[in-house]
Subunit: 290 residues, 2 copies
Amino acid sequence: MGFGMAISALRAGHRIWGQDINHTAMERLQQEGGTAGISIEAAAALDAVVIVVLNAAQMENVLFGPEAIVPRLRRGAVVLGCVTVAPAFAQAMETRCAEHDVLYLDAPISGGSLKAANGCLTIMASGKDAAFAAARPVLDALAETVFELGASAGSASAMKATNQLLAGVHIAVMAEALTFAATQGIDAATFLSVIQKCAGTSWMLENRAPHIVSGDYTPHSAIDIWPKDLGIVREIAGSAGFEVQITTAALRQFADASAMGLGREDDAAVVKVYARQAGVVLPGVEGERM
Amino acid sequence: MGFGMAISALRAGHRIWGQDINHTAMERLQQEGGTAGISIEAAAALDAVVIVVLNAAQMENVLFGPEAIVPRLRRGAVVLGCVTVAPAFAQAMETRCAEHDVLYLDAPISGGSLKAANGCLTIMASGKDAAFAAARPVLDALAETVFELGASAGSASAMKATNQLLAGVHIAVMAEALTFAATQGIDAATFLSVIQKCAGTSWMLENRAPHIVSGDYTPHSAIDIWPKDLGIVREIAGSAGFEVQITTAALRQFADASAMGLGREDDAAVVKVYARQAGVVLPGVEGERM
């Protein structure tokens, strides 16, 4: 995601410094006209820092860890937090950035790596007017749609968590339904061709069920995303005294998939948990030991 | 549904005899050119019988109960079973009809009363070639799309149950997500406007969430449909030794809604179960005792 976003920003005319633990991405960035690595001098000149890492711990480490970037930024620079995190964490980042006179925009993203590379992401954003103003050129370069969700960090992360709740459940229940149909002699291709024309369809079903039909579990989005993101949903709900029972049932399936060693497969592979339980054979996975 | 289907068949040039416990529907049918009630003589002349009742017990009663219609039908007439039932029940109906030389088409429907009245239903159908051939003029009159799902009764009912599994879970998880968002200060209208543009959307979310946004629970499809239909899903899955855990979590929410006295409200009212548990106020239901 980060690489595609960097390319989109370059294409829009921005100067880009990139930092990635993946050296190939760094080399490709340099080939495209960006700079690999961020020196102390470069940090002081930045207008905006876009954080696209795996989780809250990594984000906190980049912003305030041993090689903290926030204290090196100029007054009025803006940090865009594009990671899926709990609203309370986003609020804490906003507060801690403010202590260094740095702005923070809570800005989780949706859309996948292809949309990232084309500057067509959906960004859910919340933060102070000044943070929006400072981030605007970056938002314009990266996003097709920006939802402005309020004047403080947290609201955007809450909306992102809401989307993840739905998306995760929709993937898992697609797998439940596809396996249910298979127990009744309905194959995966027939399942997909009928359901996508019926009231039972969802965006995720139409996007992920084809991976099962073709037996191709090359990861577009990996299983291991979901224990993390649905865990955040449960954490937020728990703080509000609210039980997300369907989400919890879906989370259990992804956790089982991860425990089966499927964590790095495409998230459609959650169907293998169901297929094993039901004794159903899936396309392309006949001989596979699960 | 039945009335709309009768009107569509009349419009296509068929002669129609209708039977309904709702006298208003019978009167309206007569006004439209149909005949209210089915005499023994009329039954013997019928080419096709379309059964659109609530459940398997009602269907069995119409076909083989005290005023059984099947023994009165001519040889080669066809019964279209349009009710959501278990595949094993549909197979039993096919077998029992065959004992009277009557054909049976397993033909559950999807699409709602508006599509029924416009001859635009989706019909999932399975049965013998002869049953399809005999039913064809009726299918042409009622349906925009007919999925042909196999040469014996049962497959179509299995596909319908699969669709209901997904549709029911998608309604309940929409309510779970909308309430989750509300606990974080995101109102229902914002939830809908953002999610319908994101990967978390579903057909059911876009169809039912507007009822919550407008606070209008006039039943299009009632809560009480779902304990029945998801109960059928669990029954089928149980027979196959398969656990439908997400479905079970959704079923629990609809059962709770029914227990709260919401059975005849629109199925979007399942959100009231969540709202009560979370202490969230929904549009248009502020003063309502739940």
